[in-house]
Symmetry: C2
């Protein structure tokens, strides 16, 4: 299956390389291919720049957002939440139809300093997942994986034997089941995946970001998640 | 020690009866004592009305908010979040000074239907805990216990051997330590209590309500909490 991963950040990189290692044919979508390849300086955490990283991930294709949209049979949104709708508007509208779009992004607002808050118009009674679904009604948006560090998204067994929670929300029950299959390939166990029903569940899971960021600031380690105790 | 519990709902009742069972001298504060006593009809979950409940909890005192404020050496806010500031404005300002106020309330907004959202002016870049602290700068506000069903607040061992998380936020480190002592009397283990630092941590913990409510709606059982896996 051909998968388009939108976004060149650490999250997009983690997802794209994992999918390629699972045998999927993957294209990363970006605004400006030449600019993305020119990013060679490491980031503040010492991760290589995108261009450098891409050179060592030879299986991965790189294209514009529109090219990735035409390429992918399944979409993954790993762009920054505030620009996600704009990104998918640059995909041909026919290419948006009937696709499953796995939305793993968060509507973080860095304009008020650190730590980020949520973008007011995309929080509380709204959410990024819902907004994308509203803008692209013929696309099947499924929100998942947005509540943890990207290293855990694609390798849940890194901590606690993989025994921690990941949520799934989306209006189309069959799409939620398809996404569950991909998640299981990432290492997620059925009993760790909680189906929250329709896409309004994105309000709930995007609201986890403030406590995630606070716990991270206290523990200084992003390799954590939550487990449901009952 | 004399403790004033503000609020007559299920949360206030759970906390007040637990404190009394621990030997504390407890007064519940309410807007209108006569009206509170007249509530005898059970609620939609079959819990007895406050008046009926009070009759079987003979150790507990009942007074106005002002009377509770004069009585208590430690305050607990179990009022509905949207009215909490108003409640404490009806306490004599001298009685607010240098008291520890344990804020276990949430700024839920029921005006847009069920499930509730958060009150916009008290969410994201603001919080109820911060708002109370701002309005009463001489009071030591400590946010805790607001992220779970009241049955677990006072009896964490009810699930998972008590091995799940409770957060503590407040500007005064000594007040946070005092509150930790009370929580340990409720059954909380030190390793389950995560100190989030200053009262802005309330933004993070109040933001848990949307996912709490969503999980509750899916599982149909409020006796759950989250555990930090790392």
């Amino acid at each position: 299956m051909k998968i388009a991963v939108f976004g060149t950040g650490n999250v997009g990189q983690s997802i794209a390389s994992k999918l390629a290692s699972l045998g999927y044919d993957v294209m990363i979508g970006t605004r400006d291919v030449k600019e993305a390849k020119s990013r060679t300086a490491p980031d503040m955490y010492g991760n290589p720049g995108f261009g450098t990283w891409l050179e060592s991930n030879t299986k991965l294709k790189l294209g514009t957002f529109a090219e990735a949209g035409s390429f992918g049979e399944l979409f993954i949104n790993a762009t920054s939440g505030g620009s996600s709708v704009k990104v998918f508007k640059s995909v041909k509208s026919d290419d948006m139809k009937n696709k499953i779009l796995i939305d793993i992004a968060n509507p973080l607002d860095f304009s008020k300093g650190m730590p980020p808050s949520l973008i007011p118009s995309l929080s509380n009674t709204h959410s990024l997942g819902e907004e994308i679904q509203k803008e692209f009604p013929a696309t099947k948006v499924v929100k998942t994986l947005n509540t943890m560090w990207c290293g855990l998204m694609v390798n849940p067994n890194l901590i606690g034997g993989g025994d921690h929670i990941n949520y799934i929300s989306g209006n189309d029950p069959d799409a939620r089941k398809e996404v569950r299959k991909v998640l299981k390939q990432f290492g997620w166990k059925d009993e760790s995946l909680l189906d929250l029903g329709d896409i309004t569940g994105a309000r709930a899971t995007e609201s986890i970001l403030p406590i995630w960021l606070r716990v991270w600031s206290v523990t200084q380690n992003g390799a954590f998640n939550f487990k449901l105790v009952k």
